[in-house]
């Protein structure tokens, strides 16, 4: 499906979505966090989009907000889509987990929790993945400082 058809179909599901194509080679959709799980579930199970392969889940610190970017692809039609969501709460950010839709999200969401501190509801095993359990702080945030280990150049 082409990008215009995809945009038309997905826009009919909710009025709060923002579409853009500039600055990227795929179609980007920004979804508010309350509707994340229902839109993702429709994206996978709908016969015309059928986006059943999640190939990248990355956390980003946009400066004032913390967000997650999902890259999706369909194995039947070979079209791709990028879904973004963000939250302005930096002290205790909470998002919905998509583990029940794509099983690969289990490890990816643990990595995002480890580096950014975003908690995911309904996750089976949300613990730190790469760092030790008693590590203090979230390293990939932009305001992380570590004077003991890091030698800045």
């Amino acid at each position: 499906m082409k990008n215009e058809d995809l945009q038309g179909l997905i826009a009919s599901w909710s009025p709060n979505l923002v579409f853009t194509e500039e600055g990227s080679q795929y179609l980007n959709v920004t979804v508010p966090i309350e509707e994340l799980h229902s839109i993702m579930s429709k994206l996978k199970h709908n016969d015309q989009t059928s986006l059943d392969y999640l190939f990248c889940l990355s956390g980003v610190d946009w400066g004032e907000e913390l967000g997650v970017v999902y890259h999706l692809e369909s194995t039947n039609f070979r079209h791709s889509l990028v879904v973004k969501t963000q939250t302005t709460e930096r002290e205790n950010p909470v998002l919905d987990s998509v583990y029940d839709i794509w099983a690969t999200a289990e490890f990816h969401e643990r990595e995002v929790f480890d580096f950014f501190g975003i908690e995911f509801t309904n996750h089976p095993n949300l613990k730190r993945l790469f760092l030790t359990d008693d590590w203090d702080g979230f390293p990939l945030r932009k305001d992380y400082e570590d004077n003991i280990n890091m030698i800045i150049k």
Partner: protein, 373 residues
């Protein structure tokens, strides 16, 4: 085979055992926490982070040429293909016109790297199952490829030959002759590999029917590379999103449908044959031209987001760069194939024995610095 039933006076309980970070059968520093009942596995939980070198944080302060140097050390067995991924992302963002000569040479060196990685995989696979001879045979053929790389690129393992804009040096005058000699030599060695391991009854009994993965599970867990192709999921990035000179060659995708350890083994052996045929199609017609396009000394990408996928020997590697116009990226994320392949270990190892776990992990072909980054 008759089954033995336990006397009802015996009770069995679950036992917790640790396959520690230093272990000869986990390829690198991976710690597995196993919950077992006798010899049957009930749960596998991997514990990562023993080689986490914070590459993504380093990339936020490095220039783009320095990032290429770091990707060599992530998945060191397909180092050239990792370099190619970052170089292609930068070149697509700057919209540079790459000469044909560079594309053909990059594809040839990428396929030779894939053969070298599969040689090492084959050697270590036999060693894990118990056949020590295969270790020496696999490394003997890998040494010939290391000689070719050393003459052209300058190093044996971490080559750093691709730069944004082209190649670092032109190829050596002996390159074409030596690659052709290698192809003839290796075509007589692959049937030897088959005689040693593929048709060996002991190996077949250990590999057939072990660690079965269905197609829906492969897509849902994000498996790619030979692991996905052995379950019937056609996921070769070289076919669906071709890059460099791969749209000019014809080759078959190695697909099987059983999804067990033996199928993953056969897929990799067939990939070696296909890579040999790709190199044969390209080696005689390398076009003339320049080997590098001039770029500025300090590269700055325009504002935006860029994504590039390539097919390494392990699966699909993705490079995602968010740039705000400065000389370092704002956020760089590597989507590594081993990370998704490891998450299905719990799904396919439960219910089997510990020996089956070792054979399954050998065919998943994990390189732990690729997972931990």
């Amino acid at each position: 085979m008759e089954t033995v039933t336990l006397n009802s006076n015996f009770k069995s309980e679950e036992y917790f055992i640790n396959m520690g970070p230093q272990h000869p059968a986990t390829h690198g520093v991976l710690r597995l926490l196993l919950t077992i009942d006798g010899e049957i596995i009930k749960k596998v939980e991997p514990d990562l982070g023993y080689i986490h070198r914070s590459i993504e944080k380093m990339c936020e302060r490095d220039s783009y040429q320095q990032i290429v140097h770091l990707t060599d050390r992530m998945d060191y067995l397909s180092a050239n293909i990792n370099n190619e991924a970052v170089c292609l992302t930068v070149e697509n963002a700057l919209q540079l016109e790459i000469p044909e000569r560079v594309k053909v040479i990059r594809t040839i060196i990428g396929e030779l790297t894939r053969i070298s990685s599969h040689c090492l995989w084959w050697g270590v696979m036999g060693m894990d199952v118990g056949a020590l001879t295969t270790y020496f045979y696999g490394f003997r053929d890998r040494e010939l490829l290391n000689d070719i790389f050393e003459e052209t690129c300058g190093a044996r393992l971490t080559m750093n030959y691709n730069v944004p804009g082209g190649l670092m040096f032109d190829i050596h005058p002996n390159f074409v002759k030596r690659v052709k000699e290698f192809i003839t030599h290796f075509k007589s060695k692959l049937p030897e590999y088959d005689r040693l391991l593929t048709n060996n009854i002991i190996f077949q009994k250990r590999a057939i029917g072990v660690g079965i993965l269905s197609r829906e599970d492969a897509i849902s867990y994000g498996a790619s590379g030979p692991v996905g192709r052995a379950s019937g999921y056609s996921c070769d990035v070289r076919k669906h999103h071709p890059y460099s000179a791969l749209d000019k060659v014809t080759f078959n995708e190695a697909l099987r449908s059983e999804g067990d350890t033996y199928a993953r083994y056969l897929v990799r052996i067939q990939e070696m044959w296909e890579s040999l045929s790709i190199v044969e199609q390209l080696i005689d017609n390398i076009p003339e031209g320049e080997f590098r396009v001039a770029t500025k000394a300090v590269i700055k990408l325009p504002k935006g987001e860029y994504f590039q996928k390539v097919e390494t020997a392990r699966g699909e590697l993705g490079v995602y760069i968010i740039s705000t116009g400065l000389k370092s990226p704002y956020r760089l994320k590597f989507r590594s194939p081993g990370f998704s392949n490891l998450s299905l270990l719990n799904h396919i190892a439960v219910g089997g024995k510990i020996g089956d776990l070792v054979a399954t992990m050998a065919t998943l072909d994990l390189v732990i610095p690729d997972i931990d980054r």
